[in-house]
Amino acid sequence: MSSLPSKAPLFIPAAIRIAAIVEHGERHATRRAPPATETITDPIPRQGEQASHGRSPHALILGPASLFRPKSRTARQTQPIRGGFRLPRNDRLCTTHRLRIASDTEALPFQNLHFSEREAMTWIIIGSYIAVHFLLYTLIFRHRAFFWSEWGILLFLLVPAAILVILAFASFLWQPSFESLALFVSAFAACGIYTLSFLECWLLSEGGYSLRILSELVRSGTATPAELEMQFIDMSARKKINRLESLLGMGMVKKDSDRFQLTRQGNAVAGVLTLIAAIAGFRAVR
């Protein structure tokens, strides 16, 4: 409160400055920096025009900046920076505005790496989702037996990801535009990357066959191949039976008299796998 009286006189040039922008914004912008203003297409002139109707928020944005400017400077003397105004560093609104003007007007490479408010909000939501999801798993769900199973972890990963993607899609449908489409694709891809990475780590930690053998070797220090074979032969047989039973359970394989053969569903999956193997050009191993 005590600083108010001392700052009060500064509001006078500020008011003058606002008035100058309100009345002559477009003209001043053109006069101030001929080379730069040639590239200024939209932002400053439009602000000036809007301000003349008393509705421009930018006039208010620029106003406080003049509080920090030397008294000898007038609006006309203000120097342009990349098509914007020279503004104090501590005026964040103005700095953001200046960057936007620069990016809109100059064709420098990588100069348009800024996000709009809506885009920033989308990224905050996606980042928050990932952080909260991971924290919930770390603090609560990994201690629950249900989430140790494949179905449990799949539900835990896919249900919230699907909800987020559906919301992003609904947002796209609400305001269909290329910008919304890009936001939807970003949300979908970011969720997909996180979900897949999580699932891969989970599957890896569940223990591949090779990793179990390696783990046993590290534990015992040394072993002959024959000793390892003896040790893991039961596990190998169990794994094989489990796979066959799980394929039977999923309805991909059926037992016809004494032979196992694919169902229609199994045939479709095997067809996709064959196609993948053919495209990638690798031979499957046993």
């Binding site: 990994r142 970003s186 990357i193 590290v218 002959t224 394989v253 495209i279």
Partner: protein, 154 residues
Amino acid sequence: MGWLGFALAAFVLSVFAQGVILRVTKLRNGMIAFVLAGLPLGLALMAVLLPAYPANPAWAGILLYAFLCELWMFVFSSTFSSVSANLLLHLRSQPMRRDEVDRLYDNREMIRRRINWLSYIQAVIETGGRLMPTDRGRQLTALFDALRAFFGHR
């Protein structure tokens, strides 16, 4: 919409290039082949999208490419290494009896293949007929154990 086309085209090219690398060279590791193909294409995609498009669509294209690449690696590595997937592929060619399945997946042979793989990636070393873990193998096991502990696997 160009960013979407660029991202999809880059992914298709990566998969195609992986197939070419695996067929033309002696390389047999599909993952390495895909990284060799996908990494330069990903960098090229960034070089195309970032200067030419606003941030939002440019990053959407890059993220989409990254997601598709990860999905592809997940799918083909599962196909490549999964016993279930392999069994499906064999059953597609012909129905099999139980003893034929057993012969196909001979237990000892399955273990031997894993040991050979561990030797190939230098996680174990054979000295005087005995297998010993290398430092790399110990690091892998430590990572594996940490993941098991985190995810609560028994």
